[in-house]
Amino acid sequence: MPELVAVTVDDRRVDVPKGTGLVEAALAAGIEIPVFCYEPRLGPPVGACRMCLVEIEGIPKLQAGCTLTVQDGMVIRTAATSAKAAEGQEATLEFILVNHPLDCPRSTSRSRSRRSSRSTGSAAFSATAAPASRRTSRRTAS
């Protein structure tokens, strides 16, 4: 039985194994933090796209969720309950879209086949969700 830590994500309390990544911990609480550059199967997180910005109690600056490992007692607010995190996420999306043609054939074909980018994100996640313990242990080792 692995040691558990208690974290609060958007007012929902969840117990996850010590060493769990913040994005995975949120998912365990039923909250999806959108990610673009985070793909655990490709190696350690890089924190580059800034889509997963979240607010953490006690830290003044927004943090990239993908690069953090949750600590016991951590209070996390995602875009759903934090105006600051929402602003950060919207800014990132705006920066990405500002030079991106909205009639991009690649994006539209993806959204047509998967209905929406949101469900695409979830689908990508559930594909990797099964070996969660292995993923997190690899992350903490690095």
Binding site: V46, A48, V98
Partner: protein
Amino acid sequence: MPDHPQIVFAGTDGGALTRIEDYESAGGFAPLRKARSMPPDDVIAELEASGLRGRGGAFFPTGRKWAFVPKPDQLPKPHYLVVNADESEPGTFKDREIMLRVPFRFLEGCLIAAHAIQCEHVFVYIRGEYEQEFEVLRDSLEAMRKAELLGGVTVVLHRGAGAYICGEETALLESLEGKRGQPRTKPPFPAIAGLYAAPTAVNNVESITTVTSVLELGAGEYAKLGVEGSTGTRVFSLSGDVVNPGNYELPHGITLRELVYDVGGGVPGGRELKAIIPGGSSTSVLTAADIDTKLDFTSLVEVGSSIGSAGVIVIDDRCCMVQLGIRVSQFYEHESCGKCTPCRVGTRWLTQILEKIEDGRASQPDLDLLLSVCDRILGKCLCPLGDSDAIAVLSYVDKFRHEYQAHIDLGRCPLEGDSSLEGILAPSAMHGRHAHEVAHA
């Protein structure tokens, strides 16, 4: 400056101490012997007592930084000292003069620091364009090796390849490891997992050089210089529209007026002072009304700016603040490493909006957009580079809003042909050309 005590440049008498005999007869290497006779923790305590804070721009207490490095028995890995000599902040040119004029005092500081954090490996990451500085350090290091002063410490001089971002400490470490120079996420901090994932102290050239002086004077004497919270002296790089540009070592807490007028000789050609950037291009601009502000950490924070790297840029009334914004923003756009979204996209966007304003193609919403893009960059980037651009541009609009408004109202630059940025920060195209010449020399 005979009135002000010289700490960093002590004994140079305006020249350079590049011969080991001259440096030794001026009292050199006594601080190193003193440090080596002390337990490492006592050296760190001495530094903490001196109040010395980092000269690279963040002003972090040097002693505390070293105290964060775990002891070798706590973390049995090689420990490293990395000196950041990748000085590239526009308006800042102090470290090059330190390396040229007092190379031994700098290298002695490296050895004292190595003793304090108990490491045997020192890397000096020196800006690639600093050819002469590199040669002086190389020769000085060789002289110290022959004089058997290194005491088992390996000092490696590593030359950069012309990227501003490699002055950011984690990008510097990546570059030193042979990887692409892009910042890492923190934590872990370099003190715990820095170079080769081992405990690393990263310090600026001026900080390290001052360490030697702190050991020489003793913490108490050193702390008498400067003001509370900002002890000691500072090498100010004075540039722009000023009669006597150059590096001046002065105590913290002198006023901008003293620096610009008494030391720098004022604004040339009878022109009016318009603005001052107090700490390198990343810091908020001040207006002529702030001329009596003291140059220390607290006083500059109070007026909404920062002491940064102490690169003081004087701007006279010919300068168009929109053109200045373009020049600064182009620099950050050019130097953005492209890793994180807000900086990669935002710096370019800022330049585009500023160019639109300068060309007279902008309407009122463009000015709002400019400010909104700044807000969307601020605090969302992986490292301080993107923030620097946003802080600078925000301050230009904040302090000189009427000038930005005039561009929109007139549909052209109000200064047009009369504007001059000559001497105020070289255009980034010139940086690029120089770096190219060095790389292919």
